[in-house]
């Protein structure tokens, strides 16, 4: 039964122009309410995967099931109500002339009546902390603020799954922190299923489950602890452990060091 998993991907392959194999026989399962990070070097296929999951691309072979429903032409409209995505470039997904108009965009497309729209916009703008800025135009906002608006727009569609495709890559540390805080809120308080696609392991360290892609294949998956233990495998896929995690691994190898220190180091890495 597919309904146990929020997302089930079976033997998924995709080639651009039937030549470059971007994804090769990928199998994955993502459970409801979890926060999964998909890690990989540039060109590992992670962006292709996210586009396939939201139906922007069609698989060359294999199947995708979203909340039990098969992702295909016939079901695409319904699937779009279940899964949303925030892309990397804050300016290239901000459609509306003002914050209010942008959050409304998805709702307008769904023909939500006016009064309901107004209510939802205020509710979700508040949730992401943008309710004071509803009449601002995008060029008056920071990158972090624009991404928060994108998230509000996705939330307003009340989809259960949200993909954040390198959503913080173009932001400064402040903006990145704003988004991480929001993600935690969405996952813990609103029980959304969150998929973050990133190359920052420090970001991924805070999620529940990691999937590592290399050259279109899944080479590693597991909890952050399990995955970060495989430092060599990660290095071979061009992923470098950040300072804190590398230190953790080294300290873990050295048995002369107090294990309380080791635990504290792990706590440090997963708290940011």
């Amino acid at each position: 039964m597919q309904v146990n998993f929020m997302i089930k991907v079976s033997d998924l392959s995709f080639s651009y122009n039937n030549v470059d194999e971007a994804l090769k026989h990928v199998d994955l399962e993502i459970s409801k309410g979890s926060w999964v990070s998909i890690l990989g070097h540039n060109g590992s296929g992670k962006s292709t995967l996210s586009k396939l999951l939201v139906g922007l691309l069609s698989p060359s072979s294999g199947e995708i099931y979203i909340d039990g429903m098969k992702l295909d032409e016939a079901h695409i409209a319904q699937i779009r109500k279940k899964i949303g995505i925030v892309f990397q470039n804050p300016d290239n997904q901000f459609v509306g002339v003002t914050v209010k108009h942008d959050i409304a965009f998805g709702l307008e497309n769904q023909c939500i009546p006016y009064n309901e729209m107004v209510e939802k916009i205020h509710h979700y703008a508040s949730l992401v902390g943008m309710e004071e800025l509803l009449s601002k135009e995008p060029h008056q906002l920071s990158g972090g603020q624009k991404q928060r608006v994108a998230i509000a727009g996705a939330l307003a569609m009340e989809q259960d799954i949200m993909i954040l495709d390198e959503a913080t890559s173009m932001l400064d540390p402040e903006g990145t922190q704003e988004i991480i805080t929001l993600i935690k809120l969405l996952n813990k308080d609103l029980n959304k299923t969150i998929i973050t696609i990133t190359h920052e392991l420090s970001f991924a360290a805070q999620s529940d489950y990691l999937i590592v892609l290399k050259d279109g294949e899944v080479i590693l998956q597991g909890t952050p602890k399990e995955v970060f233990n495989q430092e060599d495998l990660l290095k071979s896929s061009n992923l470098e452990l950040p300072f804190g995690l590398s230190l953790y691994n080294e300290v873990a190898k050295d048995h002369t060091i107090d294990h309380k220190v080791l635990e504290a180091l792990w706590a440090f890495n997963s708290k940011t």
């Binding site: 586009k51 939201v54 139906g55 922007l56 409209a77 779009r80 109500k81 949303g84 995505i85 892309f87 470039n89 300016d91 290239n92 997904q93 901000f94 459609v95 509306g96 002339v97 003002t98 209010k100 108009h101 409304a104 965009f105 998805g106 709702l107 307008e108 497309n109 769904q110 023909c111 939500i112 009546p113 006016y114 729209m117 107004v118 916009i121 135009e137 995008p138 060029h139 008056q140 906002l141 920071s142 727009g153 569609m157």
Partner: protein
């Protein structure tokens, strides 16, 4: 962040600000049509009508709370056109009765020198003058005045005839252009770009009947408005980046300038194409289907003031058509 806002909107609370944008645009169109329907003729009545319209526009401006200076500054871009047209009409119309004796204009050593000296003075002193538009007119007038007053060491001369019909025509066209510009400026000063967008979209809706893709055009318009400030900001960044590589319009030769412009244009195009692709994806994922039915977050209500304004505009147009018909 930039201080640019899209358009020239100046916030305010006047009745003009509060008018429904559809009514405002419709009224503007009606009044513009009326203004152009007033015939240019030597009969003083059209001139009076046009002047009355000018007075009416001044009253509108005063009631809108928009500073008069800002509105008149809207004429700056066309100051040259206004002056040129005025003088052409003045000197080329040779019907009617002469207003003054024929004026002899001398192109002489002294008059040319005089003009050059005046123009240098104008160029240097204009930054100290507040009423630039008026100053420009004065300068244009001085060019002729000098030619009339300095005949010494003359190479050649010509004669200017000022007829009353020329004066009337020149004045008429001058006021007409001014009216059109100010009316349109009042619209953009008192209407937010989002409202203008909505107004244009609504008014174009009837074209759906003849299969014009109004929704698509409206979305394109809306996206264009949204991206103008962003693009301007990006263009500025690219200009700075290329300037850091030696691009300098002030200090370079002409043939270099061509490559330099390309170095600005290509990155802007590349950014825009990537943007188009990303935007298309984002809109698709958010459920946008071209041509499909959508609700709108903007709601506008037509009130008593709106209907009244529209009626007045129609009445004015009606009167103009009526007066045309009976004459």
């Amino acid at each position: 962040m930039n201080n640019i806002t899209i358009g020239q909107f100046i916030p305010g609370n006047s009745w003009l600000h509060k008018l429904d944008p559809r009514i405002k645009i419709l009224s503007l169109v009606i009044l513009l049509v009326g203004t152009f329907m007033i015939p240019i003729s030597v009969n003083p009545i059209p001139l009076i009508t046009m002047s009355l319209i000018f007075v009416g526009i001044m009253v509108l401006t005063a009631s809108s709370g928009i500073p008069m200076r800002k509105v008149l500054n809207g004429l700056r871009p066309i100051v040259f056109l206004l002056t040129f047209t005025f003088f052409i009409q003045l000197f080329y119309v040779k019907t009617g009765t002469l207003v003054t004796d024929p004026i002899v204009m001398y192109i002489s050593l002294t008059s040319i020198a005089g003009i050059i000296i005046w123009l240098i003075f104008y160029n240097w002193s204009k930054k100290y003058i507040k009423t630039r538009i008026l100053y420009f007119f004065i300068t244009a007038f001085m060019v002729f005045f000098i030619q009339a007053m300095l005949p010494y060491v003359s190479f050649t001369s010509y004669t200017l005839y000022i007829y009353d019909e020329g004066l009337i025509r020149a004045g008429f066209i001058f006021i007409r252009i001014t009216n059109v510009i100010i009316m349109t400026s009042l619209l953009t000063f008192t209407t937010m770009t989002t409202d203008l967008n909505y107004g244009i979209e609504s008014l174009l809706k009837p074209l759906k009947v003849i299969k014009v893709p109004v929704d698509v055009i409206a979305m394109m318009l809306s996206l264009t408005l949204r991206y103008i400030p962003t693009l301007l900001g990006e263009t500025e960044k690219i200009m700075k980046a290329q300037a850091s590589r030696g691009v300098d319009f002030k200090e370079s030769k002409f043939k270099d300038k061509v490559v330099q412009i390309i170095s600005l244009l290509i990155p802007v195009f590349v950014i825009s194409f990537k943007r188009a692709e990303d935007l298309g994806n984002a809109m698709e994922v958010r459920g946008y289907v071209i041509g499909a039915k959508r609700t709108r977050i903007d709601e506008y209500h037509i009130g008593f003031v709106d209907i009244f304004s529209l009626i007045i505009s129609c009445v004015i147009l009606g009167l103009i058509i009526y007066s045309k018909v009976i004459s």
